[in-house]
């Protein structure tokens, strides 16, 4: 239990001491406040918020609303403290209002949950001519929203890229998405293949948020964790992306700067634009789009699970009302089998979803579309140039010297644009060619491992199915 002392040197505030209970923080305040949490020797600022009207408090994450919460946090060097050398963030989650104190007309109480932290470890392998960075994402600490820690492990060689040798950062899932959208907006249009971020899964997230402590939500967390790990690995394996300042900041900085998921939508919108340049590219794009649609449809296997569960219940009821004992028992057994199969379907659907989101990462259409756009731009400026030249030719015959001069200037400008367009196009084409070959090499390996894992999971499913039906068969035969 830690006492929270609201520091009074920040803002005028009248507050009382609050007890910090993990995972809940009850806070009383009025007016604007910046709260510091004190825990023995460590002091850290958590957030700053305004609470002028009780009725209109946003249920959003306060940390993104506040302007740069200071987070120079130091902890005790407690070897058992998992949060050693790491920042801890506490933010508002669905604030509930409860008047705790009677004195004073405007006291508000908020309930906050500690967020979940993933640790991301960055290890560097010894020696080797090209650097090998290994990033691992660790398990989340608490259930709630996801947070990731990038924490260091032993670093042998010194990397000039990184300022520190040992570091750990925590990141939220939406930060990863934000990083991706930033990289996409920076690099896609010049032809680099940016690795795609793991998908959001509403089904999985709601389960985890609800606090379901069952196997499938643990699996979901695990899958997400490993997907994030793979994503980071792919990103740092890319020689250009590794040097990108945003990436470095993401891996190193203890500050939180990434915009939440909204950024990702922009990248997706860009990806969806299709400009047909040539047949094969268009067909490829269409095939990938198709795949996308189908992959989402496969999540309709969730529906199958629901219907199977309902049937299981119905069969159990039927078994209850059947008055022949052996048949009644067999029907109940059938209901149980169907329930177990339903569970299998659910687990399989999760696996399918992750497989297909990885497959989706094999898309390279993002870059191709940008190439098309560049080409289009170039063509457009060429056509405009042509038009201007024609107009200038016409003006030659009229007696309008200043208009003629204006036309000549415009033409000069356009010629410059056309040349630039051509250069851009050639540049992006060259980059893409390099990228695609690098991409193919990387991805083939990746793809293989993913597919093999997936097939192995399918094998397990079938083996389970066989077990269930083999158990049921003698019951069915026992009916007489």
């Amino acid at each position: 239990m830690q006492d929270v002392v609201l520091s009074q040197n920040r803002n005028p505030v009248t507050v009382a001491a609050v007890k910090l209970l993990k995972p809940e923080l009850f806070l009383l305040f009025s007016g604007k406040v910046e709260v510091s949490l004190e825990s023995d020797e460590s002091v850290f600022t958590v957030f700053s918020l305004e609470a002028s009207q009780p009725a209109s408090l946003p249920a959003e994450d306060i940390s993104t609303n506040s302007n740069g919460p200071k987070q120079d946090l130091l902890f005790d060097d407690d070897p058992e403290d998992l949060f050693a050398e790491a920042t801890e963030e506490v933010s508002l989650d669905s604030p509930e209002r409860d008047v705790l104190l009677s004195d004073g007309p405007s006291f508000y109480c908020f309930q906050m949950n500690l967020k979940v932290c993933f640790f991301v470890q960055i290890e560097e392998e010894e020696g080797g001519d090209s650097f090998d960075i290994h990033i691992s994402v660790s398990e989340p600490r608490e259930v709630g929203d996801f947070m990731f820690f990038l924490s260091p492990s032993s670093r042998q060689t010194s990397m000039s890229l990184f300022k520190q040798k040992d570091f750990s950062v925590k990141r939220r899932f939406s930060d990863f998405l934000g990083l991706h959208s930033k990289l996409a907006s920076k690099y896609l249009h010049i032809g680099y293949i940016v690795p795609p971020a793991p998908e959001k899964s509403i089904v999985g997230m709601t389960k985890v948020k609800v606090g379901k402590e069952d196997q499938s939500s643990n699996e979901f967390v695990e899958k997400r964790r490993s997907a994030l790990e793979r994503y980071l690995m792919r990103t740092v394996k890319h020689p250009i992306l590794l040097k990108d300042p945003d990436v470095l900041q993401f891996l190193e900085s203890s500050e939180q700067r990434w915009t939440p998921a909204n950024g990702n939508k922009a990248a997706d919108a860009v990806n969806k634009m299709t400009i047909k340049m040539n047949e094969s590219d268009a067909v490829k794009a269409a095939a990938f789009e198709n795949l996308d649609v189908q992959l989402r449809k496969l999540h309709a296997s969730v529906k199958l699970s629901v219907n199977t569960a309902q049937f299981a219940k119905s069969a159990a009821m039927l078994g209850n009302s059947e008055d022949h004992t052996a048949l009644s028992r067999a029907l109940s057994q059938l209901a149980e089998v169907e329930e177990k199969i339903d569970q299998l379907h659910q687990d399989q659907a999760n696996g399918d979803f992750y497989l297909f989101s990885e497959l989706r990462g094999l898309r390279t259409t993002g870059v191709f579309e940008h190439r098309m756009k560049t080409w289009q731009k170039w063509q457009d400026s060429q056509m405009l140039l042509q038009k201007k030249r024609e107009a200038e030719a016409k003006l030659q015959f009229t007696n309008k010297p200043d208009k003629l001069q204006q036309a000549k200037d415009e033409i000069k400008e356009l010629e410059g644009k056309v040349q630039q367009g051509e250069r851009d196009f050639e540049q992006i084409s060259k980059t893409i060619r390099k990228e695609v070959s690098r991409f193919e090499k990387e991805r083939v390996k990746d793809f293989k491992t993913i597919i093999v894992k997936y097939l192995e999971s399918l094998v397990l499913t079938q083996q389970q199915l066989i077990k269930y039906w083999e158990a049921f068969l003698p019951e069915a035969k026992a009916i007489s």
């Binding site: 795949l291 496969l298 119905s314 009302s321 083999e470 068969l473």
Partner: protein, 407 residues
């Protein structure tokens, strides 16, 4: 239209064994009267069944003969049983459902319209699937009509019915037209009256424990079978949809894989192939579940309704009997029309007792049939599921072997 290709199907049933294909009911085959549907033809909106009879009974002119019948004629036969007072004490075998190819035809039409928007491979694949579906529905409707006839033929009393013999033997059109609007309206009102009456009559407590128990049991059982039947249909439909999804993904992967011949594309092709095969198996699983589970439940939904109808008729007779008793007492008290009341009471008593006696046996038989049918279908369901799961497993393991071996 698709159907034309299926019109010439004289021997499409030949691959299955002749003899009562009673999938849902366990019936004794009796040499004295054997009925089956040896052939069926699907035209625009009609299905023509060839009913084939083998009999040693003296009633028939020949020992073996065939006639062509349509669905309406089956319904006519069923209704004639229901309306016959003599059969009030028996469970009338439920009428076969109308052949319904509408859904399948719609899908085929949609496929034809959407032909331009998919690749040739996709189109042929979907066409094959839909044709297979059409064929499956066709076989099912044949089986259900056959089961109806076999039930009648197996019933000790119904098999002697004159209408039944005419149905089997008369080799010209029975001129049974479907009910016109007026008759359908009459039927509707009759049903309303009947259900209202049923509610009234159901309230009457039965002296006989056996029937009282059967009443409560059948009511609950019927409702639960209805629920289970609906849910199993939904589940199997979802299963089919999931299998279809896999098919489309396989096609997409195939398209990708044929773009060029890099390693990546080779992978696409292999995985596409695997998905196609697993999808076929999944579709088979759904089809088998449909046959062994959904059809079973549907059939017993109809049979339990028929049993309920029997109980209703008996209760009705009981009420009539009790009313006749009361009337007789009244008549005796007033000493007027006593003889009339007596005969009426005698009739009611006789009718009631006749129904009760046969009803008891019918209900016991119903239970035996039900248990046997469930046993047969559940065992077959489990065996088929096992077979397919093992097939799937083998497929996956061999593909894994190939993929791993290539590393």
């Amino acid at each position: 239209m698709m159907q034309e290709g299926l019109d010439d199907g004289p021997d499409f049933l030949s691959e299955e064994d002749r003899g009562p294909r009673a999938v849902n009911v366990d019936l004794q085959t009796d040499a004295t009267l054997q009925v089956d549907i040896s052939d069926a033809l699907s035209e625009r909106d009609k299905v023509k069944f060839t009913v084939h009879t083998k009999s040693t009974l003296p009633n028939f002119k020949q020992n073996e003969f065939s006639v062509v019948r349509q669905h309406e004629e089956f319904i006519w036969l069923h209704d004639s049983f229901v309306e016959n007072e003599e059969y009030a004490g028996y469970i009338i075998p439920p009428a076969p459902p109308r052949p319904d190819f509408d859904a399948s035809r719609e899908k085929l039409q949609k496929l034809g319209e959407g032909e331009g928007s998919m690749t040739k491979e996709e189109f042929t694949k979907m066409k094959q699937e839909l044709e297979a579906e059409y064929l499956a529905i066709f076989k099912k409707t044949v089986a259900m009509h056959e089961v109806f006839l076999c039930r009648v033929a197996a019933h000790p009393v119904l098999r002697k019915d004159l209408n039944f013999h005419v149905f089997l033997e008369y080799n010209q059109d029975l001129s049974v037209r479907g009910k016109n609007k007026k008759e359908k309206l009459e039927d509707f009102f009759k049903n309303v009256v009947k259900s209202a009456d049923g509610v009234l009559v159901a309230g009457v407590k039965d002296v006989d424990d056996f029937f009282e128990h059967e009443k409560t049991f059948l009511l609950e059982y019927h409702n639960r079978v209805k629920d289970a039947s609906a849910k199993s249909d939904r589940m199997i439909r979802s299963h089919k949809n999931a299998a279809d999804d896999i098919n489309r993904i396989a096609s997409s992967l195939y398209t990708l894989g044929t773009q060029d011949s890099t390693d990546l594309c080779k992978f696409f092709l292999k995985v596409s192939e695997l998905f196609e095969k697993t999808r076929k198996i999944e579709a088979r699983v759904a089809a088998d579940e449909d046959l062994k589970l959904a059809d079973l439940l549907k059939y017993y939904l109809r049979e339990s309704q028929a049993a309920k109808d029997l109980l209703y008729r008996r209760s009705r007779a009981l009420v009539d009997y009790e009313n006749a008793n009361k009337a007789l007492d009244k008549a005796r008290a007033k000493n007027r029309d006593v003889l009339q009341a007596e005969t009426s009471q005698q009739l009611c008593c006789h009718k009631f007792e006749k129904i009760s006696e046969s009803a008891k046996q019918e209900l016991i038989d119903f239970k035996t049939r039900r248990v046997a049918a469930f046993r047969k279908n559940l065992v077959e369901l489990a065996e088929l599921e096992l077979k397919h799961a093992k097939g799937n497993l083998q497929l996956l393991q061999s593909c894994l072997g190939v993929l791993k071996g290539n590393t």
